[in-house]
Symmetry: C2
Subunit: 438 residues, 2 copies
Amino acid sequence: MREVGIGIAGFGVVGGGVMSILRRHAGDIEARLGARIVVRRVVVRDTEKPRAVDVDRALVTTRFEDLLEDPQVAVVVELIGGVDQAFELVRGAMERGKHVVTANKALLAARGDEIFKLARERGVDVYYEAAVCGGVPIIRTLREALASDRITALHGIVNGTTNFILTAMAEKGEPIEVALAEAQRLGYAETDPTLDVSGGDAAQKLCVLAQLAFGARLMPADVLTEGIMGLQPEDFRWAREFGYALKLLAVARRSSPGEEGGLDRLEARVHPAFIPAGSLLAGVRGAMNAVVLHSDALGPSMLYGQGAGAMPTGSAVVSDIIDLTRNILAESPGRVPLPPARPLVALRRHDEIRCAYYLRFGVKDTPGVLARIASQLASRRISIAAVQQHEQNDEGKPVPLVIVTHVAREADLRAAIAEIDRDPTTLAPTRLIRIESV
Amino acid sequence: MREVGIGIAGFGVVGGGVMSILRRHAGDIEARLGARIVVRRVVVRDTEKPRAVDVDRALVTTRFEDLLEDPQVAVVVELIGGVDQAFELVRGAMERGKHVVTANKALLAARGDEIFKLARERGVDVYYEAAVCGGVPIIRTLREALASDRITALHGIVNGTTNFILTAMAEKGEPIEVALAEAQRLGYAETDPTLDVSGGDAAQKLCVLAQLAFGARLMPADVLTEGIMGLQPEDFRWAREFGYALKLLAVARRSSPGEEGGLDRLEARVHPAFIPAGSLLAGVRGAMNAVVLHSDALGPSMLYGQGAGAMPTGSAVVSDIIDLTRNILAESPGRVPLPPARPLVALRRHDEIRCAYYLRFGVKDTPGVLARIASQLASRRISIAAVQQHEQNDEGKPVPLVIVTHVAREADLRAAIAEIDRDPTTLAPTRLIRIESV
C-alpha cells in the first residue's frame, strides 16, 4: 500500500486530537484512500512533558529542521499557533515543496497573502479547514460547493467562548462577569479572555472567511470590531421583549459599488447584534458555531457544529490531510485554486454601514426628554420603529428608555448619539446594538 | 483558455437553472477554474416547446446519440429523471469515457450499484450533489469533509413538500387536506403528491445518504417508511403540550453488531417524529431542508438550505460540473473514490428498533381503561414517561388519551398496540408517533 508521510509541528490539544483520529480511524481512512497516512515527525517544545496521547519517542524532536529536511514528509501540519514562528515554518515547508495544513487563523489573517503567493510560486497546496469554526466544513464549502454561486452576505457565530457566555446571560440572566468566570472554570474561556471577548478572534476568522466568500483582502484592523463586555442583563431582557436574541455576530455583506464605480463594496464587522428570536442562528446555543450564507442561486444556507476542541478541530485537520493526500496520489496539487491574488471587493467605510439599531438611553425623568431625543433622531433622518419606557421608581436614577430604529446610516446615528449624550438630561452614555435580519 | 464541453440531457426547471447559472456566473467560474465550461449539446423531448431560458437552437436535439457521440462532450449532465431511460443514458456516457453529473435520486437509489460498478471499471466520475437536498452540500460533506470521521447517526428533513405541509399544520392548525391543497396551489406539491406524502421520496434520499455516510447498501423498500397523511391537527397540539415539534424525518443510525457479530447494524427509517421543540431541526420551516449528523470526532453538526427549485438545485449541479472540470484539468478522475463496492453495514430489522413513542388512544370513557392499557404496556416492559387525558364532553365519542413512553423495542410496542386495539373499549385504532432526540 502506498504511504504518504506527514509531520506535525505542535502537539497540544489539537495535535493530540489529530493523532487520535489518525489512529482510531486508520482502517477507514486507508479503505477510503487506498493509501496509508504515516506520521514521520512530531515537533514539540518540551520532549519530557507528559501528554494525553502517546507518541513514539523516535518521532519526537524539538527542531523544526528535522521535520523540514525529512524527505519522507510530504505534508507539514502547523499547529504551533502564533504568527512569526509559524510563518517561518510554513514558508520553510513550501520552499521545500511540501504541502501545508494549518489551523492557525491568526497566521492566515496576518500573513495569508504572503503564504498564498509563495504557494502559487511553488505549486503547493495550503489547506486550513480547522482555522475557522473547528470541525464545521465552512472553508471547503466556500471553496468548492459554492464555486458555482455568488455569495451576497455571510453571518456567523464563529467564537464559541462568547456564544457560551451570551447563552448563559440570556438563559440565566447572569451578569457578564459571572458568565465569564463560569466559562473560564469550564475551560471554554482562557485565563486572559481578551482575544475572545473583544471580538478580535472573530475578526480574524471573518478575514479568512471573507477572502474565500468574496475575494476580500482584509486585515483584522479593517473590521469594525466591538466586543461583548459592555452588555448588561437588561439588554437581554429588552431583546426578549422585542422578539430578539442577542449574539456576537461576524458579518460580511456585499453592496453595489459606490459612486466611484469599480469594485463591489464589502461591509466587514464583528459586534453584538439583535437577531430574530425565531431564526436558526438564535437557536445556536453554548459553545457551538454556525455560519449563514446568502447566495444568488442557493439562497440562504447554514452550516452548524462544534467550533473548538481536540476532536472537532482535529477532524478538520485530518480531513485536510486526507484531501492533500488525494491530491498527492492523483498528482493534482493546485486542483482547487488558492484565494485570488488581487482583491475582488473593496472595504465599505464603517460610516456608510446601514442597519437598524437598538438604542438604550439613560435619561433624567423630566418632561420633554423623549420629545427631544425623537427630534434629534428625526433631524438626521433616523426613523423610529418602536419605543419602550419602563417605570423607574428609584428617584435620581436614569430612566431606562429604549428605541428601536428603522434602517439608518451609521454616521447619522453616531452623530445623533453624540448630540444626545452631550445633553444635561442624559445621565449615562447611550448604548447601541445593531439589529440584523439573518 | 482551455475549454471543457458538457452536454445536458433534460431541460426542465433544473436544466434552465443550470444554464442560467453557467451564463450569469461565467466570469467568476472562469476566474476560479482557469478554464471555460461550454455547453455543447442540449437534449430535449420537444424542440418546439417554449422555454423560460433561451438556448442556441443549433445545440438542441431530441436524440441522446447526438450527445453521446459528440467527442467534445466530456461531461454528461443527466436531468431527464425516471430510472430506465436515465440509466441507459448514464451507461452510454460512461461506456464512452464521459463523466456523469446526475440529479436523479430515484436512479441512484434503484441502480446506483450498477452505475458505480461501471464507473469504477471505466475510470470515470459520477457526481450527484443535486440528488439530495438540492443546493445543500451534504453529498460533498459526507464524501470529503467527514472522510476523517465516523458517523453514528443521521437525521434529516429531506423533503421540502412535506415540511411545508407540516409547518402549515403546526402554525395554522390546519387539517392536512387544507395544507396539502395550499402546497399544491403554490407549486410545492405535485398534482399527484403520493411520492412526497408517502415518505417514498425521503426514503430514496435516505438510501443515497446512507451509502455515503455508513457504507450501507439499501433499496427504498428496505427503509421503514410511514407517510404524513394520517397526521391530525390534534397531534400537533399534543406535540406542543409535551414540548415537541412534529416533522417527517429520515433517520439512519448505527448500532453495534447483533449477537451474530460481523457488520454493524443500521436502522433506516422515514416517518413522522416528535423532536424537541428547542432543537435546531424543529426550527427548519417551510420547504427548507436540513441534515443533522452525529459523528465520533465532530459530534453534532448540521447543514441547512433550500432542497428544491431551479436555482438551488441548479447550483448543486454546476458545483459538480466545476468539480469534474477540475478533475479533468488536473487529470485526476477518480480522485475522490466512489462509494464502497461492498456494504459496510447490515440493515437492522425494523422490529429491533428502539425508540420512545407517543401513543394516542381512542378509548371508551369507562372506569379501568387507563389501568388496562397501562398494564398491557407494562407486561411488555414498556415504561410510561407521561400521560395526559383531556376531558371529553361529547358523549359516545372516544376519549383522547395520550401516553408518552420511555425507550422501548418496536416489536414489543406493536404487540401491545395490537392487543389494545383488539379490546372492545378501544373505539379507534391507536396512533403511534416515534420520538427522536436530535
